[in-house]
Amino acid sequence: MIDVQLAGDLGFGISWLRMVLTVSILLAAGFFIYVILSTRSKHALLAGFDKAKYELNKYHAEKYWAIFVGGLLIWLWFLGYPWMPPVASHDAIENPDEVHIIKVTAGQWFWQLEDGGYMKSDRGSAQGSLNVQDDGSHDPLPEGQSPAPVNVKAGETVKFIATSRDVNHGFSILSSSKSMDSPMMQMQVVPGFNNEFYFTFQEPGVYTIRCLEYCGWNHPYMISQITINAA
C-alpha cells in the first residue's frame, strides 16, 4: 500500500488511478453479467430471483445494485481520504522548520518565483502550541523588482505561495521540461488571496511551469521553468 509521507504526494498517481478504476469497472460489469446469467429461466430460482418477478421482467437487481454502488463509493471515499488536500497539508505543517517557501507572483502573462527561505516557528513557547511566525504570506511582487533566485533541492518539502497581480491563473508544474505534459501538481492562483500548496520534488531536473487557467489571449505563452537541484 501507499504510505503518505508528505503533503507533496497528494494524488494516487495515474497508474494507481487506472488500477482502482479498472477494478471498479470490472466489478460493475461483473454485476451486470451476474444479473444476466442468473435470470436465465432455469437459473432464475437458483440465484434467488423470484419466479413471478422474472416473468414480469423485474428483479431485485436494483436493490443489490444500490447496495453495491453505495459500498463501492464509500470504499473509494476512505481510500482517498489521506490525500485530501487539508489532511495532507497538515503533515507538512507539523514540521515547519523544514518547509522551503517559494513565493510565486503571477500576472498577464508571466511567472516570477522568489525564494522565501524556510518557515520559522517558535515551537515550545507558552502553551507549546505550533505558532508559525513567517508563513510566507506576501503581496504580488511589484513591477520592476527582481526576485531572489530560487534554490530548491529534491526531497525537501516546498510550500508554494502564489499571488496574482491581475486575474485568475493556474500554477502548475508539469512532469517534464516539455512545453505540455501531465501536471505533477497544480493550484489556482486567485487574485486577492495567498494560494498555498505543499509539494515535494522526488527527482532533480528541469520542470515546466505552465498556466493552466485561461487568463487572456496570450495564455498559451505563459510558461516558465523551475530547476530542482540534487539533494
Partner: protein, 755 residues
C-alpha cells in the same frame, strides 16, 4: 391539415409509436414547444459551426494571422460554450419540459404568458451572446472574473463584457421564470397522481405489478386521475422522497408521474443554483460601477460554479424523467409505480446543488469543509445516476423493445452518459483531480455527458414529441443517418478529448504543441461528422414541421436569403476595423453589407429572376474583389489555390443532396468521375515541386480527405449497383425507379397514411 385526416393520422402514430399520452396539450403550448425546439436546433447549428471553426484553427488552416487566430479561437470557445448550454440544450430542455409537465401532470401550465416570456428572454440572451462574440469577447464560457474586465493587451473592450453580462442576466431571468412556472404548475390545483394503487395489499412483493387496476389500464402513467394533494405531501411526492418510505407510509402518499418528478426536481435544483449566477453577475456589475470596490473574486468563482454545475444537470433531468416513461413504453412494459424509478430523485436534488464544490478542488483558499463536501457530493450524485442506469437496463433487459429512433437515441445517450459518469468519477476524486484538472480530460467528460449524453436524449425525444404534436412523420432513413453520424462523431470527439487529457494536453489552449498536432485533423473530422449529421437532422425536422411542401417550394429561396444576409452582417461587422483607416474602404463595406442584407427581401418575397441575377453577379464581384485583394497582399498564401480547394470542397459537399434524395444515376456517374479526377489532381499537385512547379501540403488532413473521397466513390458505386437507394431492403418494394425522391425519404404521401 384537415380535421377528417386527424383520426387516421392518430392511428398511424399509435401504430408506429405506441399509445400516445392521453392528455392533449393546448394549441398555444404545442406551438411554443415547437418554437423552443426549432430555435434550439438553429442555435445548435450556429454554435456547432463555431466548434468547426475552432477545429479548423487548430488544424493549422490559415484563417487569419497568429494573434487574431488566437483571439478568434477564444471567442469561438466562449460563444460555443455559452450558446450550447443556454441557446441549445437549455432551450430544448425548457421546451420539452413544458410539454412533458403539461402532458403528465394533465393540466395547462400555470401561465402561458410567463412561458412565452422565458422563451423571448432566452432568445434575446443568446443573440446578445453572439453580438458579444462579434466584438471578440473571449473570457471563456465560465466567464471567470476578473478576466472579464482585464483582457490584457489587445483583447476585447468593456462594452462587449457588458453585453455578455447582460446576455447572462437575461438568460438567468428566463431560466428562473421557467422554474417558477414549473413549480407553480405543480403546486396549483389538482394534479395527476395515484400510481401507488399498484402497490398490492398484504405481504406480496411490492413491485410485482399484479394489481388488477394496473392491468386494466395497461400500467400507463399517462392515464392517472386528477387528485387534490396537500402541498406538504405534494412536495414529498414530487421530490420522490416517498419512494424511500417503508411500504405502509409509501402507500399513504399519492405518487405523481415520474416524468413530473424529473421536471420538478430540475426546476427546484436550478432555481437554487441560479442564486450563484446572480451573485456572480452582481459582483461583475458592481465592478463595472466602481472598479475600486474590494471584491472577492473567489466568491465570484464559487458562485459561478454553484450555478455552473446545476446547469449541466438541468440539461439532463427532464430528459431522464422522460426516459423513465419512454423506455418502458417502447419496451412494452407496464411500470405504473416502480419505486426504483423514483428513488434516484431526492439524491439528484440534494447533491446537484452541493456538487459544484468539486470544480474548486484546486482553489486552495477555499475552506476545508467545502473540499470535504465536494467529495461527498460527487459520490452522492454518482449514486442516483448508477441507480437510474440500472433501472433503465432492467426495463430493456429481456424485453422485446421496439428500436425506433427515440429508443435508439435514448440508448446511445445512456451509453455516453455512463462512460461520462466514469470519467466524472475520476476527475471528481480529490486524489486524481490534481492531474486531470484543466486538461482536455475535463472537456472529454463534458462532451460525454452533454454531446453524447443529454443531447442524444433530447434529440431522441424530439423524434417522438414532434410527431406527437404535428402528427407528421420524420424521415426514418434520414433519422438513422443522423443517429449514426452523431454517434460516430460525438463519441469520437469526446473519447479523443478524454485520451488527450490523460496524455497531458491542457485545455483552453489555442496553440497546439507539435506532439499533439496529429490529433487535430481527427478532432476536425469527428466535429464535421457531427455537424453534417445535424444539418441532415435540421432538414428532416423542418420538412417534418412543414409536411414537406413548404420546404420543397421555399427551402432554396430561404437558404439563399439567409446566406446572403449573414454575409452582409459580417461585412458590417468588419467595418469597425476600417474606421479611421480608409474612408473609401469602410464606405464600400457598409454599402455592400447593407445591399447583401437587403437582398433577403427579393428572395423571400420571390421578386423574380432579374433580382436573383443581380444578387448573383454582385456576390461574384465581391468574391472576386476579395480574392484579388488577398492575392496582391504580401502574404505567402496562394489564395487562388485556396479558392480552388473551396470550390472543390463545396462541390463535394453538394453531392450529399443527390445521395440523400436518390437522384438519377447520371449524377452519380458525374460525382464518381469528379472524385476520381480530384484524387488524381491531388496526386499530381503533391508530387515534388520540380515536377509540377507547385507543391501542396502532404499532411494528415489531405490524406484523410483522399480517404473520404475513396469511400465516396465506393459507396456511390454501391448505390448505383443497388438501384439508387441507401437502404436497399426498402427499395426493393419501393420500386427501382429512383429518378425522384424515393418514398422512404420523402414526406409521407396520402397513400402511405391510409391504413
Amino acid at each position: 391539415m384537415g380535421e377528417t385526416n386527424t383520426g387516421v393520422l392518430h392511428l398511424k402514430y399509435e401504430k408506429d409509436e405506441g399509445p400516445a399520452p392521453e392528455y392533449l396539450i393546448s394549441k398555444d403550448l404545442s406551438d411554443l414547444t415547437l418554437m423552443f425546439i426549432v430555435s434550439s436546433v438553429v442555435y445548435f447549428l450556429a454554435a456547432g459551426s463555431l466548434a468547426i471553426l475552432m477545429r479548423l484553427l487548430q488544424s493549422g488552416v490559415p484563417i487569419s494571422q497568429n494573434q487574431q487566430s488566437v483571439g478568434l479561437f477564444y471567442t469561438a470557445l466562449t460563444v460555443h460554450g455559452q450558446v450550447m448550454f443556454f441557446g441549445f440544450v437549455s432551450m430544448l430542455t425548457i421546451g420539452i419540459s413544458y410539454y412533458l409537465l403539461s402532458k403528465f401532470a394533465k393540466k395547462p401550465l400555470y401561465s402561458m404568458m410567463l412561458a412565452t416570456i422565458s422563451f423571448s428572454l432566452l432568445n434575446a440572451g443568446t443573440i446578445f451572446l453572439f453580438v458579444s462574440g462579434t466584438m471578440f469577447f473571449g473570457a471563456g464560457w465560465y466567464n471567470l472574473m476578473p478576466l472579464t474586465f482585464h483582457p490584457g493587451n489587445g483583447g476585447w473592450n468593456s462594452l462587449s463584457a457588458v453585453i455578455f453580462l447582460m446576455a447572462d442576466a437575461m438568460i438567468g431571468i428566463g431560466l428562473v421564470i421557467f422554474c417558477l412556472v414549473v413549480i407553480a404548475t405543480v403546486f396549483k390545483g389538482k394534479i395527476a397522481a395515484g400510481v401507488q394503487k399498484s402497490e398490492p395489499e398484504g405481504k406480496q412483493y411490492d413491485d410485482s405489478h399484479k394489481n388488477q387496476v394496473d392491468l386494466d389500464d395497461g400500467g400507463r402513467i399517462d392515464l392517472l386521475p386528477m387528485v387534490q394533494i396537500p402541498s406538504s405531501t405534494r412536495l414529498v411526492s414530487v421530490l420522490g422522497i416517498s419512494s424511500w418510505f417503508p411500504r405502509y407510509y409509501r402507500r399513504a402518499v399519492p405518487a405523481v408521474s415520474v416524468v413530473v418528478v424529473g421536471v420538478f426536481v430540475n426546476a427546484a435544483a436550478l432555481i437554487t443554483g441560479s442564486i450563484g449566477l446572480f451573485t456572480q453577475l452582481g459582483i461583475g456589475f458592481s465592478y463595472l460601477l466602481n472598479p475600486d470596490f474590494d471584491l472577492n473574486w473567489l466568491l465570484a468563482k464559487d458562485a459561478w460554479w454553484f450555478f455552473g454545475h446545476p446547469i449541466v444537470y438541468f440539461t439532463l433531468f427532464s430528459f431522464l424523467g422522460a426516459a423513465y416513461y419512454y423506455i418502458p413504453r417502447y419496451a412494452k412494459k407496464t411500470v405504473p409505480y416502480d419505486k426504483w424509478a423514483y428513488r434516484s430523485w431526492p439524491f439528484y436534488f440534494v447533491f446537484t446543488v452541493m456538487v459544484f464544490t468539486h470544480h474548486t478542488y484546486m482553489d486552495t483558499p477555499n475552506p476545508a469543509w467545502l473540499k470535504m463536501l465536494a467529495q461527498v457530493a460527487t459520490f452522492g450524485v454518482i449514486f442516483p445516476s448508477a441507480l437510474t442506469i440500472m433501472t433503465i437496463m432492467m426495463y430493456i433487459f429481456r424485453s422485446k423493445i421496439k428500436w425506433n429512433l427515440t429508443s435508439l437515441f435514448l440508448m446511445a445517450g445512456f451509453v455516453g452518459w455512463t462512460i461520462g459518469g466514469f470519467t466524472g468519477a475520476e476527475t471528481g476524486w480529490w486524489g486524481t483531480n490534481i492531474y486531470l484538472h484543466n486538461t482536455l480530460n475535463i472537456v472529454g467528460h463534458i462532451h460525454l455527458v452533454l454531446l453524447v449524453g443529454s443531447v442524444l436524449f433530447g434529440l431522441g425525444l424530439i423524434y417522438s414529441i414532434v410527431p406527437d404534436l404535428t402528427r407528421n412523420k420524420f424521415g426514418v432513413s434520414l433519422g438513422r443517418i443522423h443517429l449514426i453520424l452523431t454517434v460516430i462523431g460525438g463519441f469520437g470527439i469526446a473519447l479523443l478529448f478524454t485520451y488527450l487529457g490523460f496524455a497531458g494536453f491542457v485545455r483552453r489552449e489555442a496553440v497546439v504543441p507539435q506532439e499533439f498536432s496529429w490529433a487535430m485533423p481527427w478532432l476536425f473530422f469527428f466535429a464535421s461528422t457531427v455537424g453534417i449529421g445535424q444539418i441532415i437532422f435540421a432538414y428532416n425536422l423542418f420538412r417534418t414541421l412543414k409536411h414537406g411542401q413548404w420546404f420543397k417550394s421555399n427551402g432554396l429561396y430561404y437558404a439563399a436569403a439567409i446566406s446572403t444576409s449573414l454575409a452582409g452582417i459580417m461585412h458590417l461587422i468588419l467595418v469597425q476595423y476600417f474606421v479611421g483607416f480608409d474612408s473609401l474602404t469602410s464606405t464600400f463595406f457598409i454599402v455592400s453589407g447593407l445591399a447583401q442584407i437587403f437582398w433577403f427581401i427579393p428572395y423571400v418575397r420571390k421578386w423574380g429572376r432579374i433580382w436573383y441575377t443581380i444578387g448573383i453577379v454582385g456576390t461574384i464581384a465581391l468574391i472576386a474583389l476579395f480574392v484579388n485583394s488577398q492575392a496582391s497582399g504580401e502574404d505567402g498564401f496562394d489564395w487562388k489555390f485556396i479558392l480552388f480547394y473551396l470550390v472543390v470542397g463545396g462541390a463535394q459537399l453538394f453531392w450529399i443532396i443527390p445521395l440523400l434524395l436518390s437522384w438519377s444515376k447520371a449524377r452519380f456517374y458525374a460525382g464518381i468521375g469528379c472524385a476520381i479526377s480530384i484524387s488524381l489532381f491531388w496526386i499530381i499537385t503533391n508530387s515534388p515541386e520540380s515536377v509540377v512547379g507547385v507543391e501542396a501540403p502532404y499532411d494528415d488532413l489531405s490524406i484523410l480527405i483522399e480517404g473520404l473521397q475513396v469511400i465516396f466513390i465506393v459507396t456511390s458505386v454501391m448505390v448505383i449497383l443497388r438501384g439508387g437507394s441507401l437502404w436497399p431492403k426498402k427499395n426493393i418494394t419501393a420500386g427501382k425507379d429512383s429518378d425522384h425522391g424515393s418514398s422512404n425519404m420523402g414526406p409521407p404521401s396520402n397513400q402511405e397514411l391510409d391504413i
